[in-house]
């Protein structure tokens, strides 16, 4: 049977970040509750960054490492997002252009909140496994930003606790028959979805929702997606079958709660064992998520990248992945990572990229929230000023990053810096 999975993976965790403890103090949040979020930093989108620049900046290093012949075998480009910039034209068309891909390539976009990245990966896996074009590759780019956070109002008072964890970021996956980063277990998928109005983007550029309902829905899905996986995979055990677990991570505390609930239900584990298991199998996957925030469609892969970079891979390990997207759809699936996965990921130096982001002051962050209105959904014409927070662009010089230069009659024009 054809092997299938991720051949290359890179994350782009933004150009600038904010220390979220500072934000929590500034917003006068209850600090005990803030600590329970288990979040440290979050990436923020500049006015001259959008889901296209984030996605291209994640994918470009992967493309640069390919030969021209390999690059020409990319026959499918799926963008996965809830931050679309047009109802008709998909982000993939811009990315296809700026990444210089072959024109004999399918371009489209898909949406299902934070599940979108998994949906894209699974469609790509299906394409590769169908063998209708042997040797073809697929590029899946999950990219999202949260431009205008609602800080006050919303349905529950807890909504203000979403601001410290709402990030911006993208993950690019090259999917093909040589899955040295993450070898998919074919057919080992438990999916579970239903209609629920938990969190959503009912109007452009704004998030809304009921955090309690979302949390309950996430937990219901975590359990039921896994139970479906268990039905399909003989002899699986939640504690013993997976060396590591990667979760969609809205915030670290959510994952901690879900893991605790699963370990109790599936394995009747005691609190001390649950804590030990969390540290060993789950925490490696939280490291990057705690520094970038929830990047929606790509979060599950940010967690997978974090797992690979921080895991002990002296022997191959199976990773159980849980993906959840509000609204809702979810999936539990798995794959195998090895020492080679770690070596391949190392080339993209994800941690160093995060370390080299420019740190925003609170006043810069506030200015940014106001300044972002310049590029709200439906903007017809605008010229972007790269001098807005000049340190940000300076920190990107020489890295071959793409930024949004202008919008002319709705058409976006980008520039490499």
């Amino acid at each position: 049977m054809t092997l299938v999975g991720i051949e290359a993976l890179n994350c782009f965790g933004g150009t600038v970040f904010l220390d979220v403890r500072e934000l929590a103090m500034h917003r006068k949040l209850d600090m005990v509750r803030f600590e329970n979020l288990l979040m440290k930093e979050k990436s923020v989108a500049l006015p001259y960054e959008d889901p296209v620049t984030f996605g291209v900046n994640a994918a470009k290093p992967i493309l640069d490492a390919l030969t021209a012949a390999e690059r020409d075998r990319i026959e499918l480009l799926i963008t996965c997002t809830e931050s679309g910039i047009d109802f008709g034209k998909s982000l993939s068309t811009y990315m296809h252009h700026y990444l210089g891909l072959n024109r004999n390539c399918r371009l489209f976009e898909l949406k299902q909140a934070c599940y979108s990245g998994t949906a894209g990966l699974q469609m790509a896996v299906g394409f590769i496994m169908s063998q209708v074009s042997p040797g073809a590759k697929a590029l899946v780019v999950a990219t999202d930003i949260s431009r205008f956070m609602i800080v006050e109002g919303g349905e529950t008072p807890d909504w203000s606790y979403a601001e410290p964890s709402a990030g911006a970021g993208a993950v690019a996956l090259l999917v093909g028959e040589n899955p040295t980063v993450f070898q998919i277990d074919p057919g080992a998928n438990g999916y579970y979805g239903y209609e629920v109005m938990d969190t959503c983007r009912p109007v452009p550029d704004e998030d809304a929702g009921n955090s309690d309902l979302s949390l309950m829905s996430y937990l219901d899905c975590c359990e039921n997606a896994y139970l479906e996986y268990q039905k399909r995979v003989q002899g699986v055990d939640y504690k013993d079958s997976f060396g590591y677990l990667s979760f969609h991570t809205p915030f670290g505390g959510m994952v901690k709660g879900a893991h605790r609930s699963m370990m109790r239900k599936m394995n009747k584990a005691k609190p001390a064992d649950i804590d030990e298991d969390f540290t060993r199998r789950v925490e490696p996957g939280l490291v990057y998520c705690q520094r970038v925030g929830n990047i929606m469609g790509g979060t599950i892969f940010l967690s997978l990248a974090s797992t690979i970079d921080n895991a002990d891979l002296s022997s191959p390990k199976r990773v159980g992945c849980f993906s959840y997207g509000s609204g809702c759809c979810s999936e539990f699936y798995s794959g195998v990572i090895t020492a080679e996965s770690k070596a391949k990921l190392k080339k993209f130096a994800i941690e160093r990229q995060l370390n080299e982001r420019y740190q925003l002051s609170m006043s810069e962050y506030e200015a940014l929230l106001r300044g972002s209105s310049a590029v709200k959904f439906g903007t017809r014409n605008v010229d972007l000023d790269f001098q807005f927070i000049p340190g940000a662009v300076a920190a990107s010089k020489g890295k071959g990053r793409l930024f949004l230069k202008k919008i002319a009659e709705f058409h976006r024009e980008y520039e490499w810096i």
Binding site: M216, S217, L219, G257
Partner: protein, 84 residues
Amino acid sequence: MQKEEIFKTLISHCCEILPELENHTFVTTDQLRELGANSIDRAEIVTMMLESLSLKIPRVELSGAQNLGELVDILHDKKLQCKG
């Protein structure tokens, strides 16, 4: 199962998750949030209630409750429905 019994079970789970409530006098108008339960704690308490009552229903069906009394009412109704 009577509502009083369900309320007692709820109190015991609240105290398990939030031991500082051991000496609190619970009333049906108490809200979990005001008792100091964060969102994860609240979900945990709901999960424990479903397990204790052997109710196999989605947690999201209990998310509308605004206070302990309402949560007890919903659980009581669900328990009746499951029997019916």
